[in-house]
Symmetry: C2
Subunit: 352 residues, 2 copies
């Protein structure tokens, strides 16, 4: 669970009242000018002037969303922030603050929480957001993490899911399916380790997939990139649950159908290779895998030339009238219906 097994383990109960949170948060400095007051009062105070304020929140539960047997706590802290920032970026907005609440069982020593907060700190630094509050409490079992992200945008910049128009082009950033294949590799290694704890696997050939799973980045760059390209997204959503689920959300919110092309879905060569090894269809990984935290958005057809061939952006299809349904044309020219997969137990989000 901890990267260095020899570091001291301080029971949390030995810390005085509020000393724990001071220990965990003392290295966080306020950097965003809109943060008037951060940690240390009943509430944080934020001034967003003329801009709109955006709020998104996520809950991550041990045993449901993450497995500490292969997820280092520092990476978990980083990823917990990414998941939330991604929701703010998916509104074509700028993230400015986060709050982080955790509930921990007494199996976690202080050093484990410090590792976790190192990841939070790195994410705040890399993405220029301020930690402004939270709650720290005990749990009867496991680790639970609740992050709320706050952002800002001018009214005319915000991209909702419901703004797509018929004929709009569908664009996705980066590539898809790698986080899912990273999970497959890690799950396999965990199973091997349980049988043979002496195994020393060489995972270097899966390094991209594993990094996408353990240390995802969110697309902070897209808002500025689109502005530079003079493209205004008509609708936008982040790809947290897999392309299929997200394009259905966007289509339904916009009261439209969609048609995408299997050949156009961006997939990294390492994903193709590991899919072959695991006997998983790479399109299935991209459509249903999730956790890629790329952005999916729609643009006017007239913006085609501005986007075409951009290394970070792939045009994968277009929006149709609602009666046409939600379709993908396969590499063999067949048309298949897209369905929301990845429904595993309950996993809903009011703002996701």
């Amino acid at each position: 669970m901890l990267e260095d097994k020899n570091i001291p383990k301080t029971p949390i109960a030995t810390l005085g009242e509020f000393a724990l949170i001071e220990t965990l948060t003392k290295s966080f400095e306020i950097k965003d000018s809109s943060t008037q007051f951060g940690i240390g009062d009943d509430a944080a105070v934020i001034q967003h002037g003329k801009d709109e304020t955006l709020v998104s929140t996520d809950l991550l539960i041990e045993g449901v969303h993450f497995d500490l047997s292969y997820m280092p706590l520092k990476h978990l802290g980083y990823k917990a922030v990414m998941v939330n920032l991604s929701d703010i970026y998916a509104m074509n907005a700028v993230a400015t603050q986060i709050t982080v609440s955790i509930a921990v069982s007494n199996r976690f020593p202080l050093e484990a929480l410090e590792e976790f907060y190192l990841g939070i700190h790195l994410a705040c630094k890399n993405y220029k957001v301020d930690l402004v509050g939270g709650d720290t409490t005990s749990s009867t079992k496991g680790l639970m993490i609740s992050v709320t992200a706050i952002g800002k945008a001018s009214k005319d910049e915000i991209a909702f899911r419901n703004g797509a128009k018929e004929g709009n082009l569908v664009v996705v950033t980066g590539d898809l399916g790698a986080a899912y294949m990273g999970l497959q590799v890690l799950e396999r290694e965990k199973a091997v380790f349980q049988v043979n704890p002496q195994s020393q696997p060489d995972l270097s050939e899966y390094s991209y997939c594993i990094e996408r799973q353990l240390k995802p980045e969110s697309r902070v760059d897209i808002k500025a990139l689109l502005k530079d390209l003079e493209v205004k997204p008509t609708a936008m959503i982040d790809v947290s649950d897999g392309l299929s689920s997200e394009i259905l959300h966007l289509s339904k919110a916009s009261k439209l159908g969609c048609q995408i092309y299997e050949d156009k879905i961006p997939v990294d060569p390492e994903v193709l290779k590991s899919c072959e090894e695991f006997k998983i269809n790479s399109t299935t990984a991209a459509l249903n895998g999730g956790e890629d935290y790329e952005l999916l958005f729609t643009i006017e057809q007239s913006d085609f030339e501005k986007i075409k061939g951009h290394p970070h952006l792939s045009i994968i299809g277009h929006m149709t009238e609602v009666a046409s349904g939600y379709n993908m044309v396969t590499g063999l020219g067949q048309q298949i219906e897209l369905t929301a997969q990845g429904w595993n137990g309950i996993e809903n989000k009011e703002n996701d």
Copy 2:
């Protein structure tokens, strides 16, 4: 757990994707004019114009913060909102929106979550706040609730904890200790019930204490009341962990000492009566009990006449230089040092 044991129990897994959250939140209407967009996109959009935006968050864990054997889910939903609104009111601000995230194990049927959301809905209605987002997921064990409250206030209205001045009067709203005594009664009845499930206790003589524990209200009225009285609080905090802990927070943040008077601490007659029965010192209940969600604040001495004798406000002491420490003068004229009690396991809050 459910008030009517005969209502149908729909397993959550039988609902389609996103149908759960639609079922739970469909009756929530947007009422606050600052809510531009609520549930249904990656993030909520809030416009706070010239006002400051305030954010506070709390995590409530089954088995740590609540016991469903005597806490009806509707009350739990209501209380979860109160805990957070109280933090916004403790900044002398107006609460405007909340997000609610829950993680539930599969022992909870849909009807249980609907009960919970009925309480959330009632709280939103009574306190005029909008539900604008959240996250709903499965847990491996029990129920976890994370609420984030958002509020607004003009810059000059906000009351931080650190604004108290030497000689300021210390004021508390309402009365203290009742929620704690309500908990004692409920814990005793639970123990009785475990021995004799046929027992039908008459709890009417504890009705105030039990209501304070199960259905607390937060002091939404105090900001307007103080404005009417033309009193500006110099510092403010809510009483969630007991008077002693809170006055220490306020004093330390303001770099001052304090002196309060045992005789002045407002305690309801029902609390006195039940304290006698339970052999608990009523001052201990008020100082260390917690969960009263009253407000503790400081005012200029010159405002004494405006506050004096007000039925909702009790002047309980004054702020001193830091070297004098944190003291209470008992009914017998002894001076004792106030210490932060109620430290039970870990229970910290960056913004609390």
